[in-house]
């Protein structure tokens, strides 16, 4: 009797711990919505999604920052995805055993580097370097994209690598047996077979790039204007929240929470997309390799 009751109790306690993630998510969504209500009520959605940010004049448009987020994310993915895919193919198909350990170790190390350290490096080395080359202030979409590319490489590499490794080796055997070269096998057999996994990897990388704050904050400019070139200063949603939360009140503060809500929605939409693409596999990244 005692044993049965304890068993029941333990199961309940474990259930409660499991429900903490659900509760946590619900709380985050609830407070983001609650804090952004004043902005939606007093400024209105049309104002919030306009392209003018001038809190002094009651203009709280977040379009500039949304564009900044999308542009830096796209830039980061364009620069980072080929490297990450190359690395994943290298690790699964091409690498001799000894270099495989080295490269694999290297990319795992990159995943551990704190974003503030990458930002500091961007600020002290990358931005002055772009400034020299372009004659502009050096900060902006280009610098942010480069930093983000470095940040998405480990994520995309790890998950595409898993996807490529999950392709049954008989596929490749069959292809090679028919006389296809290795590249033909990769391009026609393995990449298509791992397509969903690779897509999921890119989506997860995109999520990481959209949410990245510190590394971008140190190289983005910042300026609350649309970028006119790859090296002109602008802002992203995350950097705007980071830099203005402390100094804003009232509707302006609330509109920063509305930006947080937009980020949250973007992130959750990406996760939903990813779950769909990867066929219901868990989308939580692993920390243990």
């Amino acid at each position: 009797m005692y044993v049965i009751r304890r068993e029941w109790l333990v199961k309940r306690v474990l259930l409660v711990t499991a429900m903490v993630v659900v509760l946590g998510l619900a709380l985050v969504v609830y407070f983001m919505v609650k804090e952004s209500i004043p902005a939606f009520k007093q400024a209105g959605p049309a104002n919030l999604f306009s392209s003018e940010w001038a809190p002094g004049e009651g203009r709280y448009g977040m379009l500039i920052f949304l564009v900044g987020t999308l542009a830096t994310t796209a830039g980061g993915l364009i620069l980072g995805t080929p490297l990450a895919l190359g690395l994943a193919l290298f690790l699964t198909q091409v690498a001799p055993r000894r270099s495989r350990a080295l490269f694999s170790r290297g990319v795992e190390t990159l995943a551990g580097i704190p974003s503030i350290v990458l930002g500091w490096l961007g600020f002290t080395i990358l931005v002055p370097w772009i400034r020299e080359l372009s004659g502009s202030s050096g900060s902006g979409i280009l610098a942010a994209s480069i930093v983000l590319a470095v940040m998405v490489i480990p994520t995309i590499t790890a998950i595409s690598r898993d996807a490529l490794e999950a392709v049954p080796s008989t596929y490749a055997q069959a292809s090679l047996a028919m006389g296809a070269t290795r590249w033909q096998t990769i391009r026609r057999v393995q990449l298509p077979a791992a397509k969903h996994g690779i897509l999921a990897a890119i989506i997860l990388g995109m999520g990481r790039a959209i949410g990245e704050t510190m590394a971008v904050a140190m190289v983005i400019g910042p300026a609350s204007v649309f970028p006119t070139s790859l090296t002109s200063p602008t802002h992203t949603l995350t950097t705007k929240i980071l830099m203005e939360m402390g100094e804003s009140t009232g509707v302006q503060r609330s509109s920063l929470f509305a930006m947080g809500l937009v980020l949250l929605m973007l992130a959750m939409a990406l996760i939903a997309l990813m779950r769909r693409v990867s066929g219901g596999r868990s989308a939580t990244p692993e920390v243990v390799e």
Binding site: M19, L83, P96, G112, I125, R182, G211, M218, T238, S282
Partner: protein, 340 residues
């Protein structure tokens, strides 16, 4: 390079006992034994042993692609080397001087150290781990042993996946509203630890789940066969075997906590001068303090030295934590391998 390519082709083909020389003689060693054979056959059928233009093109494409993949990978790896090298080059000298690591921070004068920041970082990660590991392991046990595949399990999975995608700056302003203001904790290590526990819960849960899954099912079945209840079996047999894996995950999480700044700036603080011993006190983890140095540090004449040194120190700590985690994982795998 050709030899490497050939080895992989053989490995993928699952054939171990082929003499490299034989295929090399057939021409185009990197096509692999089967490829070469097929080519010869095709050539024979067409009445010519000479490789066709299409084959030459394919061979060229293969060689180019291999070179491209090597180039991309080397570029990626050299980026890693460049990043680590540059950070250490700029700050290692400062980061290794005891006067800097154990020194008192300065608000308006030069020559400051970062000891309270180092303590803040460690204090924050210990406090967060104390909150997140029990929760994460509990949730993982539930998900892997008790949940089954029902609606509840799907809900928890959805919650974990979504929470893992939330940007850390959103966690930061959430923590500011809920823990700092609403619960009245103020800027404190505890408010930050609660925020970071929520941020890290999905990954801790996932890695604990993986560790539990790696325990052979026969262990649990054997325990159940001796008359243990499910929980007893999990507690006495499954969890002890999974502990090293869970510990590895916890160490890696500590690395993530130490490196986190966006979620910490509005919950824990940016700058302190005395070592924060109580969880109810504001603190200044190194990562957040680098941001402070970047924004307001210029009042200190040597802010650049302090920030560079702190960045290098932070990198060293995180790399060490990762190394420890990986070494543990490796040692454990080896031991488990012998035991099985």
């Amino acid at each position: 390079m050709e030899r490497a390519a050939w080895t992989t082709a053989v490995k993928v083909g699952g054939m171990r006992e082929v003499e490299p020389g034989a295929t090399g003689a057939a021409g185009g060693g990197w096509l692999g034994p089967c490829g070469a054979q097929a080519r010869v056959e095709k050539g024979v059928r067409r009445g010519s042993v000479k490789a066709s233009a299409a084959h030459r093109r394919a061979a060229l494409a293969d060689r180019l692609a291999t070179a491209g993949i090597w180039a991309l990978s080397i570029l990626a790896l050299s980026t890693v080397a460049l990043v680590i090298g540059a950070v250490l080059w700029k700050g290692l000298g400062t980061a290794l001087s005891p006067a800097f690591v154990f020194g008192k921070p300065q608000a308006m004068r030069e020559g400051g150290g970062v000891w309270p920041m180092v303590v803040s970082s460690f204090h924050l990660s210990l406090l967060t781990l104390a909150l997140v590991v029990p929760l994460g392991v509990g949730a993982a046990v539930y998900m892997s042993e008790f949940a089954g595949v029902g609606r509840l399990a799907r809900l928890v999975r959805f919650g974990a996946d979504s929470l893992s995608a939330v940007p850390s700056v959103v966690f930061g302003i959430f923590g500011m509203v809920v823990f700092v203001v609403y619960l009245g904790l103020g800027y404190s290590l505890l408010a930050g630890a609660l925020t970071l526990a929520l941020l890290n819960l999905p990954t801790v849960m996932r890695s604990a789940e993986e560790s539990i899954k790696a325990v052979p099912r026969s262990y649990l079945e054997a325990a159940l066969a001796t008359g243990c209840t499910k929980w007893e079996a999990v507690k006495r047999v499954v969890l002890p075997v999974a502990v090293p894996g869970i510990a590895t995950g916890a160490i890696l999480t500590a690395g993530r906590i130490v490196g986190e700044s966006a979620a910490v700036i509005y919950t824990v603080g940016l700058f302190v001068r005395r070592v924060p011993w109580s969880p109810f006190r504001p603190a200044a983890p190194m990562a957040a303090n680098i941001w402070h140095m970047y924004t307001e540090g210029a009042l200190v004449p040597d802010w650049f030295r302090v920030a560079s040194g702190e960045a290098a120190l932070l990198l060293l700590i995180v790399l060490t934590l990762n190394l420890v985690a990986r070494t543990t994982a490796k040692a454990v795998r080896k031991r488990m391998g012998y035991r099985d």
